[in-house]
């Protein structure tokens, strides 16, 4: 027996879906912004001469990389409050998860990019009398940053998709809203397809922006 699909009724649920989209974007943007800072700090920590800094950075990266995002989300939302003694709002928990998770992967991207710059570049800077941080700032970073953009774009897309896992900790993001609607109105095909299209719209837009940036940077 064929099921009748009513695609037009999706319009009725757009307010809820747009709310979900808003939280998906909010958590992605804030989480990735913090993740970017974490990645920069721990990425440089991974190549620091100081053994303690290097050790802390390595432990952070290995723990995050070695556990599933879903486990991290559940642990931070359900387990961490029992340790620290107060609850964490689900949206805040969601931002923490995305930030910590993307931070670890971005740290590896930063490390790889900095280490990929030829040693001669740093030597040339130092031989001119620039100190270590000037050499990093004016010579290594600008070149490393350019190389970071393709893998960073990749990580941004992965993290955006990872926000869908936050529905298990009750973050009212896209798929969470979709499940609520579909459960009440028995319109799984219409709603879940729309949700998928929303995700695709975000990631395709991001891909496009990244391609433009890459092209611009290649001009020289």
């Amino acid at each position: 027996m064929a099921v009748e699909f009513n695609w037009l009724q999706v319009i009725d649920f757009l307010p809820e879906l747009v709310t979900g989209l808003y939280y998906t974007l909010l958590i992605s943007v804030v989480g990735l912004a913090i993740g970017f800072i974490l990645g920069g700090v721990f990425g440089l920590g991974r190549i620091a001469n100081n053994k303690v800094i290097k050790g802390i950075s390595t432990v952070y990266v290995e723990i995050i990389r070695g556990t599933p995002v879903l486990v991290q989300a559940i642990w931070i939302y359900f387990a961490l409050p029992l340790i620290i003694g107060f609850e964490i709002e689900s949206i805040i928990a969601g931002i923490i998860v995305i930030a910590l998770n993307s931070g670890a992967y971005i740290a590896e991207i930063v490390r790889g990019a900095v280490q990929s710059i030829d040693r001669g570049q740093a030597e040339a800077g130092r031989s001119l009398g620039l100190n270590h941080s000037q050499t990093m700032r004016y010579i290594i970073w600008p070149q490393a940053f350019k190389r970071m953009i393709p893998p960073l774009g990749n990580q941004f897309i992965i993290s955006i998709k990872d926000t869908s896992l936050l529905s298990v900790i009750l973050v009212p993001e896209l798929i969470f809203q979709g499940r609520l609607i579909a459960a009440n109105h028995f319109n799984a095909v219409e709603i879940y397809t729309t949700v998928a299209v929303f995700y695709l719209a975000i990631t395709l837009t991001l891909s496009f922006i990244l391609r433009v940036i890459e092209r611009r940077l290649d001009i020289q």
Partner: protein, 240 residues
Amino acid sequence: MIEVKDLHKSFGKNKVLKGINCEIQPSEVVCVIGPSGSGKSTFLRCLNMLESITKGDVIVDGNHLNDPKVNINLVRTEVGMVFQQFNLFPHKKVIENLMLAPCKVRHLSTKEARNRAMKLLEKVGLADKADQYPQQLSGGQQQRVAIARALAMEPKMMLFDEPTSALDPELVGEVLEVMKQLAKEGMTMFVVTHEMGFAREVGDRVIFMDDGVIVEEGEPDQIFTNPQSDRTKEFLNKIL
């Protein structure tokens, strides 16, 4: 100007320099020759501490480099260096390559740095390339820019680490010409090279190194026409 006393350098268990003694006077042009793996480049890189010193003393312009209190960045501002692979900054235009260190280290204004950079580019014959990126230049042109970049700090001496070894043969001449000019102007130069013609014509002194030690040194004519050591003779026979 440079004094080297019993310089040793090891990489792990691998002993590369085994006790080097040497002095370089102001305005002197010293050329170092020798087979690959003899420690020439490592020796040169110890003179501005791109390699740490394992044992011994290097005194540059009165600064003992192995003294932890010495500000190595300050010493390096007086010691220009030119690399085999040029090592120009690919994300900066030619003129910006020359302006970076004078602006950030010597605190010149942008205008002063630009004027100085243009003068140096004229000197190496590349004023018309100021606004291009290094990749757009030939190897010989890149190396001339690299020399100008080092000179932009107005150093008291210059180190050249095989400056023509990465160049196509027809581009070697233009770089040597710039170096010759520099020598004529009285720059103190320490040159690791395989260009025997240059060493002979421009060098005040030639050092032959092998296996981490200075085997023989003297005036170019004497080294090239009447070498005393068998190892020098053997090396010169192979390459000349």
